[in-house]
Structures are given as structure tokens and as C-alpha cells.
């Protein structure tokens, strides 16, 4: 099992969710986050007071998937979240040691 974490542009969230549903991903977790990468921040000017905004808003999605789905998941996210411009985000993949479905007590791939 793998945990796929992707940082994407906020307005790409719907497209990514649809793409993942289409290939059979059963659920994802979404968090609004801030951060910086190569895109960097911008400056804002209020009546002559200038503020540098370093952290830009992004969306983080997390999906736990079976090993055999990994490649398709990565491909779907990459395709759906791509604009070709700087700041499109990144995908991180982790090994997942255990999964438990709280309601039934199922564990492992059955719980996904």
C-alpha cells in the first residue's frame, strides 16, 4: 500500500478529484495549506505600506491506494493538475505500513 500526497493549485482540486474517482480511488483527504517553492511570493501595497507575501495558498490531497493502482494514480494527478506554469505543485509517495477501517476493524488492503 502507498500513501500519495500531492500539493496542487487550489483551482485544480475539482479536476483532480474527478480524475481520481474515474480510476476507482475510494476516498481522499483535502487540506488547505500555504507554502513556497520556486514560484515564490508576491508583494502587496496598502497606502504605501509594502508587504511581501512569501507563502502562497495551495491544496494538499492525500490518497491511500493499493500498490497496483499507484502508477495510474500518479499519472491521473499529474495530468489533471498540470497547467504547464510554475507553481503546479508536487507529488510525494510514501510506503504505507498499516490501514484500519474503524467501523469494522478490517485491516490492510481490505480496509482501503
Amino acid at each position: 500500500m502507498k500513501l500519495v500526497t500531492a500539493i496542487i493549485k487550489p483551482f485544480k482540486l475539482d479536476e483532480v478529484r474527478e480524475a481520481l474517482s474515474a480510476i476507482g480511488v475510494q476516498g481522499i483527504t483535502v487540506t488547505e495549506v500555504k507554502g513556497f517553492g520556486r514560484q515564490k511570493g508576491h508583494t502587496e501595497l496598502y497606502r504605501g505600506a509594502e508587504y511581501v507575501v512569501d507563502f502562497l495558498p495551495k491544496v494538499k490531497i492525500e490518497a491511500a491506494v493499493k500498490d497496483d493502482m499507484l502508477e495510474r494514480v500518479i499519472e491521473s494527478v499529474e495530468k489533471a493538475a498540470n497547467t504547464g506554469k510554475i507553481g503546479d505543485g508536487k507529488i510525494f509517495v510514501f510506503d504505507l505500513l498499516q490501514v484500519v477501517r474503524i467501523r469494522t476493524g478490517e485491516t490492510g488492503p481490505d480496509a482501503l
Binding site: E44, L45, Y46, R47, G48, A49, Y51, V53
Partner: protein, 591 residues
């Protein structure tokens, strides 16, 4: 602005009591042939000066017919009426509006030195009144004409009540929203709360002693205590309301609406100051400072600029000097301030920056982000200010008339000009046209047109509005950095700078050569005379200087007193956590 108090003597009481007098010394007498109602040959010439007076000064003419003692009483009475009617028709033909002529039957229609003298019609200037002429014109027997106490015009009263509510809206919620949007989210409630409570506090003090000290006769600097707790404004036993004068003779409004209107001005002025030291001041310090500064700066400045005995006090040339001497100092100088450039905006702007200076910068100023937390709130506040300002400026005409209309369009136009000039200036010099800039431009334009509103023509509105946007843009950018003061919400850069600009330009654009209405130089006749660009500009500059000095000194001393008594600033920890939680125990937003 104005003020004098005339007690409301009920017209009907006079009429019922049968008190009768001629309106004035007759200004023209026309003599008729025996038994005839044909106009004498010299009639037109005799009444020509009166027709001119009626048309230019808007006074009513009273026409009374008489007859000699020969003949039947009823026939003679009819004859006297016919003679008066003939004269009335001649006056109408001469251009006097029919409703400006009062046919008044004298109590005794016979009389005069001899019969020839008795067969006459008298035409005199009549003190305007709406009720009596109807009765007289209808031929009511024994119609009595007195010099009646003027009755307020319902249109004027309705407009002033409306304007007063508009100006209240400028503080709560407009100014509170405008300011609240510009602070950080941890302090928004503290700003809303300060505006809400200070507005209420000053309104109460206004009715206790503020109105009396500002708008009753005293000396050139401060009024007296005649109206403590608004004593004497309403006689409940007789059901009589005291009257306040406007800018037109015999055109009073109930004093209570003037009290309320001016209350909203006093209250918003103190609220404006709050922007200078927002995000770090103690709530108790805000309240104590408000009481001190209101009492020792707002009240004297309002008295000095706005108190005068009113146009009705100027009855003849020989009372002018004595009447002038009762007015406030700056009024006597001839300083023009239609709706509060000095009294409200310079006054508050100076107190604000002195506060920012005495209190010191916010923790993290220049290092941490102090960006506005909710600019839509600021935009809504600015928009409501714009709307409310129609009450502020056009209401300051105190009547629903041409002057109010002029103030209205100027308030509309200058503000739009300032939005454009600030936006274009910011776009050119700072890169992007911002919403905060447009909202600030609107307020800058409103501030600058305030002293000018009814004192300049359309050209003045264009120039003052456009200049205000650019000058105040510099005020919150260049000037603010030069002063090195943390004036949180730019009370100085917008209100003091805009107020000074408007006050000075008012002296220029009041000139009739630049489309302005000029300056009334003689309140007996209403004659206007512009003293000249340099002369009026100098008067305006002196008024600005007095206001800056007075407000600056009073504010400085008041802050020092407050610092000794309750302390000005909150502790550092509380400032970091935010005043909403630490001072008021609540948060504006939950997630």
C-alpha cells in the same frame, strides 16, 4: 452655520386675541378719486421700488385699502377692497408672484388726515407668513395681520431630520466599517466597539453640556450654560418649541433638530481620531481622552467657527457691529467652513496624529505584516460614508433649498473626481490601482469638499476633488514616511491634509469669478462681496492655523493626563494577542 434662538410665539394666539398692527411704516401710498377704484396715474412709479424689493429680497408685500367717511359703510368697505385688489393686480403685472402679496384689511378702514388722504391704498413690506394671507385674500372679515412668529417650513424640517439620521449612519456603521476593515482581524472588534461607544458617549455629553457650550451666546471662544440638558428647547406646559435660525431670515427650524444634527457632527469628529492610535490603545484611555478632547477642543472650535446670532438678528445697519461681536472668533474673521473642514476634519486629524506620536508605534511596525484584514468591509464603509455625507454637507445648508442642492452636487462630484485622481495617481506611481486606494480617494474627496460644499460652484468641485485625491495619496505615502509616525489608519494623511486643502481652496473657489456664490458681506440686506483671493485665502489660513494649534495643544495635554490617570497603551502581550480578546473578551471570526 448659524444660530440664534427665537421663542415660538403662536401666530393663532395673536390672531384670536385680535392684536392688529400695520406691518410696518407704509412704504407707498396711492390716492384714489372719490368713489373710484381706478389706479391713479402715478401708481406704477410709486410702487416700483417695492416691486424690486419684493422680487430681489423675496419679501411679501402687504396691501391695505382705505376709504373716506362719506357714504354707506358697506359700499365703502367694498370700495376699499376693490382699490386694494386693483393695486394687487398691478403688482402681479409688475412681476411680483401672487403668493407674495398679502391683502390685509385694516381694523379701521377709514381714517387719514383728510378725506383725500383717506381714499388710499397702502403698500408695505410684510413679514412673511403662510397662514394669514389666505384668510385675508378670501375676504374674511376683520382679518388681522400681526407681525407673526415665523413658522418652520415643513420641507426644511423634514430634510434636517433626514440629514441628521444620515450623519449618524456615517459613524455607525460607515466609519466603523471603513476603519474596521483596515485593521488586523485580531483587532477589528476593538475598533468597531470604540467607534460605537465613543459615538454614544459624545452624543450624551452633547445633550448634557456640549450643545450649550458650542451654540449659545458666550464670548468669542466658548458659549454659555443656557442650554444645559437642553433646557428651554421645549416648553411642555405650553407645547412650544424653541426655534433655531438658518441662513435665511424668518426661516427657522425647531432648535431640537439643530441640536440633534450638530450632535452627530461632534460625535463623528471624536470617532475619526480613533484611527490614529488603533490596535494599541486601552479602551479606558479612549473614553477618558474623548471626554477631555471633546470638551476642550471640539466645543471651542465649533463655537469659534460656527456660532453666530443668525440672520434675523441683523435687523438694521446700526446693530451689525454689536451682532457680529456676539459670534465666534473665526466667524467674525470671516472664515468659511460650510460643514466642518476645520471643526471636524483638521481638528480630528491633528488630534489623531498627536495621539499616534504620543502613543508610539505598534509592536512590529515596519517588520510584520499589518495588512488590512477585510477590504470589502472598508469599501462598504467608504460607500456608506459617501451616502451619509449628503446629510453632512447638504444638511449643513440647514434648509432644503438651492444652497443645499449646490452642496449636494459638489459632494457627489468632488468625491467622484477624487476616486479617479487617487486611482490614476496610484496606478501611475505605485503600479496598480487598488480598491483601498479608491475607497481612500472617496473619503479624501469628501473631506476636502466639506468646507467648500455650499461655498463653491461646480468648477470648485472639480478642482478640489481632483486635487484631494492626489494630495492625500501623497499624504499617506510620501508625507507619512517623512513624519515617521505610525498613524494607523491615516487620520492625518486623509483628514487633516484633505481638510487643510479644502479649507484653503474654499477661499479661492468661493469667488464669483470662479463660479462660487461669493461671501455675504451684509446680513441686513443679504448683499455679497468677495474680499479678493489673497484676502480670503489669508482668512482661511488663519482659521486653519488656529485649529491646528488649538487641537494639537489640547490633544497633547489630554493624552498626557490620560497616560497619568489610566495609561494609554495596553501591555505588549495584549497587543500581540489582539485587543478583541484581551480588551473585550470576544473574537470577530470563528473557523
Amino acid at each position: 452655520m448659524k444660530k440664534i434662538f427665537t421663542l415660538f410665539a403662536m401666530l393663532c394666539a395673536l390672531a384670536i386675541g385680535g392684536v392688529v398692527h400695520a406691518a410696518d411704516t407704509p412704504a407707498a401710498k396711492l390716492y384714489f378719486d372719490t368713489g373710484k377704484a381706478d389706479l391713479p396715474a402715478d401708481a406704477a412709479k410709486a410702487v416700483a421700488p417695492l416691486i424690486d424689493q419684493a422680487k430681489s429680497a423675496k419679501v411679501k408685500l402687504q396691501v391695505s385699502g382705505f376709504h373716506d367717511k362719506t357714504g354707506d359703510v358697506a359700499v365703502n368697505a367694498e370700495l376699499a377692497k376693490k382699490r386694494a385688489t386693483a393695486v394687487q393686480e398691478m403688482l402681479v403685472a409688475g412681476g411680483v408672484p401672487a403668493d407674495m402679496i398679502v391683502l390685509a384689511k385694516p381694523a379701521e378702514t377709514t381714517g387719514g388726515g383728510d378725506d383725500k388722504e383717506a381714499r388710499r391704498v397702502e403698500v408695505a413690506v410684510f413679514v412673511a407668513d403662510a397662514a394669514a394671507p389666505a384668510a385675508a385674500a378670501a375676504g374674511a372679515p376683520a382679518a388681522a395681520t400681526a407681525t407673526p412668529a415665523p413658522v418652520p417650513n415643513k420641507g426644511d424640517v423634514a430634510w434636517m431630520l433626514t440629514s441628521t439620521a444620515f450623519v449618524l449612519m456615517m459613524s455607525v456603521p460607515a466609519l466603523a466599517l471603513f476603519y474596521g476593515g483596515m485593521v488586523r482581524s485580531k483587532n477589528v472588534l476593538s475598533v468597531l466597539m470604540q467607534v460605537f461607544v465613543v459615538f454614544s458617549l459624545i452624543s450624551v455629553l452633547w445633550c448634557v453640556y456640549g450643545y450649550s457650550l458650542a451654540f449659545t451666546e458666550g464670548n468669542a471662544y466658548i458659549g454659555g450654560f443656557d442650554r444645559l440638558f437642553l433646557k428651554g428647547t421645549f416648553d411642555s406646559a405650553k407645547g412650544e418649541f424653541a426655534m433655531a435660525s438658518t441662513f435665511s431670515k424668518n426661516t427657522p427650524i425647531p432648535e431640537l433638530v439643530y441640536v440633534a444634527f450638530q450632535a452627530t457632527f461632534a460625535a463623528i469628529t471624536v470617532c475619526l481620531i480613533l484611527g490614529g492610535f488603533a490596535e494599541r490603545v486601552k479602551f479606558s484611555a479612549v473614553l477618558l481622552f474623548s471626554v477631555l478632547w471633546f470638551t476642550f477642543s471640539y466645543l471651542p472650535i465649533a463655537h469659534m467657527v460656527w456660532f453666530w446670532p443668525g440672520p434675523d438678528a441683523y435687523t438694521a445697519a446700526n446693530v451689525v457691529d454689536a451682532t457680529n461681536a456676539k459670534a465666534g472668533l473665526l466667524w467674525q474673521w470671516g472664515a468659511l467652513d460650510f460643514a466642518g473642514g476645520t471643526v471636524v476634519h483638521i481638528n480630528a486629524g491633528i488630534a489623531g496624529i498627536v495621539g499616534a506620536y504620543v502613543m508610539g508605534k505598534r509592536i512590529g511596525f515596519g517588520k510584520e505584516s499589518m495588512a488590512p484584514h477585510n477590504l470589502p468591509m472598508t469599501m462598504m464603509g467608504a460607500s456608506l460614508l459617501w451616502m451619509g455625507w449628503f446629510g453632512f454637507n447638504a444638511g449643513s445648508a440647514l434648509e432644503a433649498n438651492g444652497s443645499a442642492s449646490l452642496a449636494f452636487i459638489n459632494t457627489y462630484l468632488a468625491t467622484a473626481c477624487a476616486v479617479l485622481s487617487w486611482t490614476l495617481g496610484e496606478w501611475m506611481f505605485k503600479g496598480k490601482p487598488s480598491m483601498l486606494g479608491a475607497a481612500s480617494g472617496a473619503v479624501a474627496g469628501l473631506v476636502a469638499i466639506t468646507p467648500a460644499a455650499g461655498n463653491v460652484g461646480i468648477p470648485g468641485a472639480f478642482v478640489i476633488g481632483t486635487a484631494a485625491g492626489l494630495v492625500c495619496l501623497w499624504g499617506v505615502n510620501g508625507l507619512k514616511h517623512m513624519l515617521k509616525v505610525d498613524d494607523t489608519l491615516d487620520v492625518f494623511g486623509v483628514h487633516a491634509v484633505g481638510g487643510i486643502l479644502g479649507a484653503l481652496l474654499t477661499g479661492i473657489f468661493v469667488s464669483p469669478d470662479l463660479g462660487g456664490p461669493s461671501v455675504v458681506s451684509d446680513w441686513v440686506t443679504g448683499k455679497t462681496e468677495y474680499p479678493g483671493y489673497l484676502a480670503q485665502l489669508f482668512i482661511q489660513a488663519k482659521a486653519v492655523g488656529v485649529t491646528i494649534l488649538w487641537s494639537g495643544v489640547v490633544a497633547f495635554v489630554s493624552y498626557k493626563i490620560v497616560d497619568l490617570v489610566v495609561g494609554l497603551r495596553v501591555p505588549e502581550e495584549e497587543e500581540r494577542e489582539g485587543l478583541d480578546i484581551t480588551a473585550h473578551g470576544e473574537s470577530a471570526y470563528r473557523s
